[in-house]
Symmetry: C2
Subunit: 323 residues, 2 copies
């Protein structure tokens, strides 16, 4: 069995049928007031999600990642769907189409996503924090001992994390104080941008834990996206340029060098920093062994890969035991 | 005045009116034979370009960068233009549209471009080498002493460079031998992918010079593209998260750390490796001073920025003289 949830992607909750229209209202909102109103509709639903999750996990750790994908992923692209959505939202087709056009990105992988969304719209981080903290307080009142772990994705500079963490801490502390309870919570980040790994000593001043997002880190370190690399990687294997798919097994030479740097630098600042990995590499035995060897303490992976990951971690510890 | 051309982008030559149709023939070619036939039409034109360039530069160094952009940049996107092109090429609209659809990329910045094109289509590198070497031989016969510098873009692994360099060297050496002349030439690479900087000691085994492509290196190190970052960087300045535009001044903390690593690692393997920078940072005084301080020996920039770059380099050398 697993011992917690290393990555709860909150965006999946945003896509569900009962809330997608509130999400879309938030996206087309023209100002903070409109956006806050739409977010207020999402708050009780997201809070219920977290209450359910915390109860299900019975006190095991759950790391909650804040909204990550670019907002255009939540709106339709086909004309007929846009027409229907405009009608549903009481907008003209032209207005909605214009908003969608403005959201268009040339390279969405390198666009307005992750922590950048919360920098532009701190209201989102605020709503998500409310949902997390209120859920934890509610569940703890029933006798559990949830310690929320809040994970800010795609950080590349300490000031981004400082800005969003300030929103998180201010929101969380006010709720905790008003509730008159004692609640510990952690704020950490993903290390998935090369710059975050290079400056991990700096980032660790604010981040209480690191989780390596090795999918994105692989994409940016190699400079190719998973969506596009398929086309030319076949030639790379055929011509013996690459022996392995770097999305299947961590590239220990390049991506791994950045990870090792980040582990060392992070520990310089915060010796007891919690270090893990989330993403598909967490379910790959070779990658799990590598993570063990560089000193990570947890791997997160999809549920059906848990037995593989546990076995790999055990083998890695036999080959190279931790002190 | 400047002392050479640090970056001759060959793709601009591919767009010119007299050759774009041969380029498009190459792109829609269904096999090596068809592609080679289309490339044969481009060869004399590209050779003439280089002859003109070498004559103009009177023996000063010219670094020629091989084809870099994704191939879809050379084909139209509007239906009317595709219909017209199909007619011109003697193809059905459906066939051409299908080829164009296959070239579509989700994140073109992270797609099939740079060295990846020559890995898939080594014929391209072969044609470009023929053009460079034949031009140099022709011009040298008139009494000049051109030493071609061939630059392979977007390398992230030594094996990519090995593969393409083998094509270059085989082609060049055969032409030089057949001509019965003596011609020295260099093959180098751009360091513009984080992984290339991290493994620069390895890359330097094959690369005879490095030129830092700091535009791409900035995009991949920060994980945001120039085309998309405009939207959210305004918030970053407004909220004092970034003080500077990293595309205007090199980010010395993050991107600069990678550059310093690459300089040190490259020199470990090849102590006399020629090190420079190309891209817009080469015309920015603050970035030029940084490049001087980490030991680069040349900067390349757009012609109108040459006086600024020269002055900045002179100032940098007064503040921190080279031994």
């Amino acid at each position: 069995g697993a011992q917690g949830i290393g990555l709860c992607r909150t965006e999946h909750m945003f896509f569900e049928a009962d809330r997608i229209s509130a999400v879309r209202e938030m996206i087309v909102a023209k100002n903070v007031e409109e956006r806050t109103k739409a977010l207020a509709k999402l708050l009780p639903m997201q809070r219920e999600d977290f209450i359910g999750l915390y109860k299900e996990m019975k006190g095991y750790a759950v790391t909650i990642r804040y909204l990550d994908p670019p907002l255009h992923e939540f709106v339709p692209t086909e004309k007929a769907d846009i027409v229907a959505l405009a009608k549903e939202m009481g907008l003209t087709y032209e207005t909605l189409q214009k908003t969608i056009d403005e959201l268009h990105e040339t390279n969405p992988m390198l666009g307005h996503r992750g922590v950048r969304l919360s920098v532009t719209y701190p209201e989102i981080a605020k709503m998500q924090t409310q949902a997390v903290i209120e859920a934890a307080i509610a569940v703890n009142k029933e006798g559990m001992s949830v310690v929320p772990e809040i994970m800010i994705p795609l950080v590349g500079d300490i000031k981004e994390l400082q800005y969003v963490k300030a929103v998180v801490v201010e929101t969380a502390d006010a709720i905790i104080k008003a509730a008159g309870v004692d609640l510990k919570y952690y704020v950490g980040t993903m290390i998935e941008i090369p710059r975050a790994a290079l400056l991990a000593d700096d980032i660790a001043k604010e981040a209480e834990f690191f989780s390596f997002g090795t999918n994105d880190l692989t994409q940016m370190t190699f400079g190719f996206s998973r969506d596009d690399a398929g086309k030319f990687l076949a030639d790379y294997y055929g011509k013996k340029i690459f022996a392995n798919d770097p999305f299947a097994h961590i590239d220990q030479q390049g991506v791994g060098k950045l990870m090792k740097m980040a582990v060392e630098l992070g520990r310089q600042t915060r010796p007891d920093i919690k270090l893990g990995i989330c993403g598909e590499h967490g379910g790959d035995p070779i990658s799990v062994e590598f993570c063990h060897n560089i000193g990570l303490s947890y791997v997160s992976c999809s549920p059906f890969r848990v037995p593989i990951a546990r076995l790999a971690a055990a083998h890695a510890n036999i080959k190279n035991p931790r002190k």
